[in-house]
Amino acid sequence: MIQDSSMARHMLWRLLGLIPTLLMLITVAFFLMRVAPGGPFDSEMLLPAEIEANLNAKYHLDESLLQQYFRYISQVAVLDFGPSIQYKDWTVNELIGQGMRVSLTIGLAAMVLAFVVGTLLGIIAALRQNTRADYLLMGVAMLGISIPNFVIAPILILLLAVYAGWLPAGGWDWSIASMVLPVVTLSLPVTAYIARLTRGSMIEVMHSNFIRSARAKGLPERVVIRRHALRPALLPVISFLGPATAGMISGSVIIERIFSIPGLGSYFVQGALNRDYTLVMGVVIFYGVLIILLNFLVDMVYAWFNPKVRYDETS
C-alpha cells in the first residue's frame, strides 16, 4: 500500500515536470527558429514593401519578438497553435491532427511488428547459440541494421510494386495495402536491433544463477524460459522501446518521402526550410510531449517488469 501511494506520487511529479520541460522547449525552439536567417515570405520573387507589410501584419510578425513570444505562449496554453503560414487553408492544429493519425498508425504498427518479430528471432538465436541458425539470423540482423531504409525502400518498391504489381508504389489511402511497405521498411532496422538486443540479454540470463536453480528443480526447459528467463531478458528491450517508438513516429521523414505518406515528418523538415514558424513550433511541441510521455510510460512498464526498480526513495 505504502509502495502504491509513493508510486502514484512519483507519477504525479513526473507529469508536473512536463510543464517546465515543455516551457523550456517552446522557448528555445521559438527563439532558435527566429535566429535562423530569412523569413517565411522570402523567396526568389521579391515582394514590394507594402505587400510584405500586409503579410507581416497578418501573422503578427510586425510586433516585437517578446510580444510575439507571449502571444504564442498564451495561445499554446489554450492549445491553439495558430494558422500555418505555408498551408494557408489549414490551421496547425488541423495539420498536426491529420499528420499525427498517419504517423502514429505507421509508427505504432512498425513498432509492434518490430517488437514481436525482433524478440522472437532474438530468443530463437539465443537458444540456438553458436549454431548455423544463430549465425544466419544475426548476420541478417546485422545487415538490417547497417543498410539504411532509404536503400531498402526503393528496392522493395521496385520488386513488390513495380515488377510484381502487388502493392502500390507509394501514396496513402488508409488501405492496408498502402501501409504494408512503409511499415515493413520502417520496422526492419528496429526489428534487427531488437533481435540482437534480445539475443544478448537472453544468453546472459540463461547463464545466471536463478536459471540454473530453476533447471536444478527439474522444471522443463519451456517453463524455465517462459516463466523465468523471458521477463529479465526483455528488460533492455523495454527500456529501448520508449526512444525507439518516439524515433519511429518522429523520425520517419525519409520513409514518408519515399512512399509519399502525409505524416508529420515532412511538416517538420519542410516547415523549417520554409520558415513556417507556427507549423514548426506545433510539431516541436507535439514531438516534445510525445517523447516525454513515452519515456514516462516506459519507466512505468520497466518498474512493473523489474522488481529491482521501485520508486520508494525518489520524489
Partner: protein
C-alpha cells in the same frame, strides 16, 4: 516583377538519398527483368499505344476513339499551399487553380492567350482602358451567373491589404493598385468598374502590353462572393468552394490527393472530356516515376535527375522534354572585389565556360546552351546574340586567356573567389563543373560554398559576402521585360549591384512604349547593353521534363508549362482494336518506338479551343489570326477588337523546337 523562384530547394533533403537510391535501383533494373516488365505493362494496357487521333470539325476528338474511363492521375510535385486563388503561390497551386477557375483570359494548349470568361475585349488607343465583355452563358459551379461584379469583387479582394496576397503585385499595373495595397486608398478605389452585368472596365496606370497574359493568373480570378462571405478562410475547402472553371473541387485529403470533377455548369462543359482529375503531391521524383511505371500515374511533374539515358531508352514515347521560360546563370557581385569595375575579367570567366559540355554532361536533359538573358520561346522576340556565341570554344578560351592575363592574373598569381549556391544537387554539380572548367582553362582557384536556400537568398541580396553566385529566373508571363527588369538599379532582386543609368532609361522607355515593333527593338537594345556589361554569365535555358502516358492527348508542350486538364483526353489503346498481339508484332512495334523521338505528343495538331475554333483554311488567314489574338495590337487602329470570331488556330504548331533538336 511577378516571378517565382526556382525551387531548387525542393530537392535539398534528398540529394544524399539519390546518390544511394539511384545506383541501387539501377542495379536492380539492369539485372532484373526490364524487358519482361515492359511486356507485362503492354499486356496490362496501361502504357499501350493509342489509336490514331481523329478530330472533328471543331478540333475535338471524335467519340469513337475515346477511352471509356476519362480519369486523369496527375502528379503535382508538391502540396499546394492554398486553393484560395488570391493567396496562391507556387506551381502546384497554379496548376490546380487553372482547372478550377477561369480568369478573363485563358490559354490555349500551346500557351497563347485566348478568351476566357471574357469572350472579347477592347483596348483603348492609349492602352490605358481595357473593356471586357463577359460570356453570358458562364455560370459558377452552383449555378449562379458569372458577372462583372464577381470580377470587381475578386480583384478588390486580391488587392485588399487585409487579404495579404503575396502575388497581388500582378495587379500593380492597374490604376490605384499600389495605393490600395499600401492601405492608402480603400479597395473600392481600385481602377476596376462593372459597366453593366456583363461588361467590365479596367483602368491602367501604365499601358502594359503583357496585361492580357497577367489576367490568366490566379490573382485576378473572380471568387464567388456569397460563399467567401459565408465560409471566410474556409471557403476554399471541398464542399464550400464554388468555382467558375471547367472543374470543381470534390475532395482534398491533405498531402495525399486532391480530386476535381467536371463542372457541369461550365459554359464549355460539352467539350470537356476528362470527367475526373486527381492531383498527387509526390515530392520524391523516383516515387512518382515508379508509380508512373506501375501505371498508376499518367503525368509526372518531373523526372529524377540522372535517369535521362535510361528513360530515353526504355520510355521514348513517355518522356517529354521541352524548353521552359527560364534562364539559369551565374551572377557577379559588382560591388565587391575582384569583379567591381573589371569587365575584362568577367568576360574572361564568361568565355571560359563550355556551355555545350555543361548541358551535355551536367544538366543532361537537353537544356539549351544560352548566351543571353532572355530565353527563347517568347513570341516575336529574339535576343541579340553576342559575337562570341558564334566562335568555337577554342577561340573563346583563347580570348578568355588573353583577357585573364590582361586583368593581371597568371599561373603564379591566380584569381581566387567563391562560388555560392543554394543547396541542391543541380546547383552543386553546376558549380563544381564551372569551377573545374575555370581551373582547367584559366587556372582560377574557385571555392564552392553551399548554403541553405533562405540563407543564400539573404546573402545574395545583401551583396556583402557574395562574389560569384548561382542565379536563375523563370517567368510567369512571356515578356522579356520580366527578365530585363531584374537588372534595374535598385530592383529588389538586383543581386548583382548592376547600375547603369542608360540601361534604366531604356527600361523606362520599354515600360512606356505601346507600339510592339518599337518596344521589341527597345528591349533588344536593352538586352544587348546588358550583355555587353557582363553582370552575369549566361549558362542554359531550363527545360520541363516529365513522363506522360501516350494515350493522354489534347495537350501540347509550351514554354509556360501551363497545361489545362480541360484540353486533355484519353484515347483508346490500339490493342483494343486489334487484340491478341503476338510476340513478333510487339518486336516490330518496339523498333518503331525507338525510332520516334521522345515526347511526340507535342506534334499533334490539336487546336483545342472548343467550338470557338474553326480549322484553318489557308496559311494567310492563320497568320493573320495568330497576330490578332497575340498581345501585339496594331497601333493605328482606334479600338482593337479581339473577339473569338477571328480566333483561328495555327494549323500545325511546330515551332521547330522538338526535344530531338534539343538533345542533339
Amino acid at each position: 516583377m511577378q516571378n517565382r523562384s526556382i525551387k531548387n530547394g525542393i530537392y535539398d533533403s534528398v540529394i544524399f538519398l539519390r546518390q544511394f537510391v539511384l545506383p541501387a535501383s539501377l542495379i536492380l533494373l539492369l539485372g532484373a527483368c526490364g524487358d519482361d516488365y515492359r511486356e507485362k505493362l503492354a499486356n496490362r494496357g496501361s502504357h499501350a499505344r493509342p489509336v490514331e487521333l481523329i478530330l472533328n470539325e471543331v478540333g475535338r476528338p471524335i467519340p469513337s476513339i475515346l477511352e471509356r474511363q476519362q480519369e486523369l492521375h496527375r502528379d503535382n510535385g508538391q502540396e499546394p499551399q492554398t486553393l484560395d486563388p488570391h493567396l496562391a503561390e507556387g506551381l502546384p497551386a497554379a496548376h490546380i487553380l487553372r482547372d478550377l477557375f477561369e480568369g478573363l483570359t485563358a490559354e490555349s494548349p500551346d500557351g497563347r492567350i485566348v478568351p476566357g470568361a471574357a469572350f472579347r475585349w477592347n483596348i483603348s488607343r492609349d492602352g490605358k482602358t481595357y473593356t471586357f465583355y463577359l460570356r453570358r452563358d458562364a455560370y459558377w459551379s452552383n449555378g449562379d451567373p458569372v458577372t462583372a461584379e464577381d470580377f470587381v469583387y475578386g480583384l478588390r479582394r486580391s488587392a485588399d491589404p487585409a487579404t495579404a496576397s503575396k502575388y497581388a503585385q500582378v495587379l500593380l499595373p492597374i490604376e490605384n493598385a499600389a495605393e490600395v495595397l499600401a492601405g492608402d486608398l480603400p479597395p473600392s478605389e481600385l481602377g476596376v468598374t462593372a459597366m453593366d452585368e456583363f461588361t467590365l472596365q479596367i483602368s491602367m496606370r501604365d499601358p502594359t502590353p503583357y496585361f492580357l497574359a497577367l489576367l490568366s493568373h490566379s490573382s485576378t480570378y473572380p471568387v464567388h462572393r456569397a460563399s467567401v462571405q459565408e465560409h471566410g478562410s474556409a471557403f476554399s475547402r471541398p464542399g464550400n468552394l464554388v468555382s467558375n472553371g471547367a472543374y470543381v473541387l470534390s475532395e482534398w485529403v491533405i498531402r495525399s490527393r486532391i480530386e476535381l470533377v467536371k463542372n457541369k455548369n461550365y459554359w464549355d462543359a460539352e467539350h470537356v472530356i476528362l470527367e475526373k482529375v486527381n492531383y498527387y503531391p509526390f515530392e520524391d521524383q523516383s516515387t512518382a516515376l515508379k508509380r508512373f511505371r506501375a501505371g498508376k500515374l499518367h503525368w509526372t511533374s518531373e523526372v529524377p535527375n540522372n535517369q535521362f539515358k535510361w528513360l530515353q531508352e526504355h520510355y521514348p514515347d513517355e518522356l517529354v522534354i521541352s524548353p521552359w521560360l527560364g534562364s539559369y546563370y551565374f551572377g557577379f557581385n559588382l560591388e565587391r572585389e575582384p569583379f567591381i569595375e573589371n569587365l575584362g575579367l568577367r568576360k574572361a570567366l564568361m568565355l571560359a565556360l563550355d556551355r555545350d559540355l555543361l548541358t551535355e554532361k551536367v544538366t543532361q536533359f537537353g537544356e539549351l546552351p544560352s548566351f543571353t538573358l532572355v530565353p527563347p520561346g517568347i513570341r516575336d522576340y529574339i535576343s541579340p546574340v553576342p559575337e562570341w556565341a558564334e566562335w568555337t570554344q577554342a577561340e573563346r578560351e583563347k580570348e578568355a586567356r588573353r583577357l585573364y592575363a590582361m586583368a593581371g592574373y597568371s599561373e603564379e598569381n591566380p584569381l581566387e573567389f567563391e562560388i555560392r549556391y543554394s543547396a541542391g544537387e543541380y546547383n552543386k554539380k553546376m558549380a563544381l563543373a564551372a569551377a573545374s572548367l575555370w581551373k582547367q582553362v584559366l587556372g582560377v582557384q574557385a571555392t564552392l560554398l553551399n548554403e541553405e536556400s533562405k540563407v543564400f537568398l539573404q546573402n545574395k541580396q545583401q551583396k556583402i559576402v557574395t562574389q560569384v553566385f548561382q542565379a536563375g529566373w523563370i517567368s510567369d508571363y512571356a515578356d522579356p521585360y520580366s527578365f530585363l527588369n531584374l537588372f534595374r538599379t535598385g530592383h529588389g532582386r538586383n543581386d548583382y549591384g548592376y547600375s547603369n543609368s542608360l540601361y534604366d532609361a531604356l527600361l523606362d522607355e520599354v515600360a512606356a512604349e505601346r507600339i510592339p515593333s518599337i518596344r521589341r527593338r527597345l528591349m533588344f537594345e536593352t538586352e544587348r547593353l546588358l550583355l555587353s556589361d557582363v553582370p552575369f554569365i549566361p549558362l542554359y535555358t531550363y527545360v520541363t521534363k516529365r513522363m506522360v502516358n501516350p494515350r493522354l492527348k489534347g495537350w501540347q508542350s509550351n514554354v509556360m508549362d501551363h497545361h489545362y486538364s480541360k484540353h486533355m483526353f484519353f484515347l483508346k489503346a490500339a490493342s483494343d482494336e486489334a487484340p491478341a498481339t503476338t510476340a513478333e508484332t510487339r518486336v516490330v512495334e518496339t523498333e518503331e518506338q525507338n525510332s520516334r523521338i521522345p515526347g511526340s505528343a507535342q506534334e499533334m495538331t490539336v487546336p483545342g479551343e472548343g467550338d470557338d475554333v474553326i480549322l484553318a483554311e489557308d496559311d494567310a488567314e492563320t497568320a493573320e489570326a495568330g497576330q490578332a489574338q497575340g498581345l501585339d495590337l496594331p497601333p493605328d487602329e482606334k479600338e482593337t477588337d479581339v473577339s473569338n470570331e477571328n480566333m483561328l488556330p495555327e494549323a500545325v504548331t511546330d515551332d521547330g523546337t522538338t526535344p530531338e533538336d534539343l538533345l542533339e
